[in-house]
């Protein structure tokens, strides 16, 4: 079965539009019983889910920003004719991290380039 090309950016775009709306709804329309005065496991769970919305958002943004396929990151629009991952070493041979800026939609992305002096990057073949 071949994976339809250009499916991922559409899905990720949709997710990035829907997650902030869901997060907003979660914050406005939420039932947490009890209070913050003593141990409250319901409140603990709500706090974790609140974090998961931000995590989901940055994961989608990360996958959408990385215009290549590599290892566990597979973007359907970046594949060879045989369905293998297609890397873009020109633009993505680096280590990147997302930095919290206060706005979950606008995190910063500091980058450290990866340099390979002795063993150069190649494409692995299982054939």
């Amino acid at each position: 079965m071949s994976i339809p090309s250009s499916a991922c950016n559409v899905c990720l775009g949709t997710a990035l539009r829907e997650i902030p709306a869901l997060h907003d709804e979660f914050r406005k329309d939420l039932r947490v019983t009890g209070s913050g005065e003593s141990t409250n496991q319901t409140l603990e769970k709500a706090g974790r889910i609140d974090d998961f919305f931000e995590l989901a958002q940055v994961m989608c943004l990360d996958a959408l920003t990385r215009e290549e396929s590599c290892g566990g990151h597979f973007r359907a629009e970046h594949q060879t004719d045989e369905g293998e991952a297609e890397r873009d070493d020109e633009n993505f041979a680096h280590v990147a991290a997302w930095e919290w800026t206060g706005d979950p939609a606008q995190p910063a992305r500091p980058v450290e380039p990866l340099e390979f002096d002795n063993v150069h990057l190649a494409v692995r073949s299982y054939k």
Partner: protein, 257 residues
């Protein structure tokens, strides 16, 4: 085929260590008998939240009987009616339609209630800190059979190491003693060659720390009955033997700074 149970729960509710507590009677209809006890409580909590009420606070983590986090007195028995089973692995099929189930937290002076069914078991950590370790450099995994250990000794050490530190022994004991827990922790190290360097220091430090928090053992044997890992009270005898030897050896004074 699974059955549906209609139960009545009498649950201990308490806002904090110093707050007065009370039993809340909560109807729990339509409980699938394939649920675990904790899943039943999850469902009851979901219903309470939907009614705008506060959920019952209870401890739980792995839900596969290995972490020692769950801790309930069910109808007066630590971890409920099934032998050798932690609360998380107790299933509702052990109960009958129409039953009233009384659910309480561990009751012991050393375990203050945090809230509802959740208690603070930190004194067990204090005992382990006092001697539940070895200081020999173990390095990488040694070759098998490099250190010869007779099979019965290895088996016995493994039995002691099965202790998950849940505190059921303390909750079941009329004296709130922690001898079974401490003896399991002492035993699994004192039986093995790697544990010999600190053998006497360990037992003395752990027993003395235990006595700061817990009551005294009078050989009731309730702990062995309640233990979800069925640890034998023989380990208490082994611990007492080592403790007596440690007092003669006076290692505590030798290691004094």
């Amino acid at each position: 085929m699974s059955r549906e149970l209609n139960l009545t729960l009498k649950v201990w509710r308490q806002d904090g260590p110093d707050a007065p507590g009370r039993f809340d009677t909560i109807a729990a209809p339509g409980i699938n008998d394939e649920m675990s006890f904790l899943e039943m409580l999850d469902l009851v909590n979901e219903r309470l939240i939907n009614e705008g009420k506060e959920a019952i606070v209870f401890d739980h983590d792995c839900r596969e009987g290995i972490c020692g986090t769950c801790s309930l007195m069910i109808n007066g028995q630590a971890h409920g009616p099934q032998r050798g089973t932690a609360t998380c692995q107790l299933h509702m099929r052990k109960f009958a339609d129409g039953d009233t189930i009384v659910i309480e937290p561990w009751r012991a002076a050393a375990f203050p209630i945090i809230k509802d069914l959740m208690v603070d078991r930190a004194p067990l950590d204090r005992i382990v800190e006092a001697g539940g370790f070895i200081t020999a450099d173990t390095g990488g995994a040694p070759d098998a059979n490099l250190i010869p250990i007779p099979k019965p000794v290895a088996d016995s050490a493994m039995d002691a190491a099965a202790c998950i530190g849940c505190g059921a022994c303390v909750a079941a004991c009329p004296n709130s003693a922690a001898q079974l827990f401490t003896s399991a922790k002492v035993g699994h190290l004192n039986l093995l060659p790697q544990g010999q360097a600190e053998r006497h220091q360990r037992v003395e430090a752990m027993v003395d720390t235990m006595e700061e928090f817990f009551g005294s053992c009078t050989n009731h044997g309730e702990c062995e009955e309640a233990c979800p890992k069925e640890i034998s009270i023989d380990f208490i005898a082994l611990m007492n033997k080592d403790y007596l030897a440690a007092k003669f050896k006076n290692r505590k004074l030798l290691s004094r700074k």
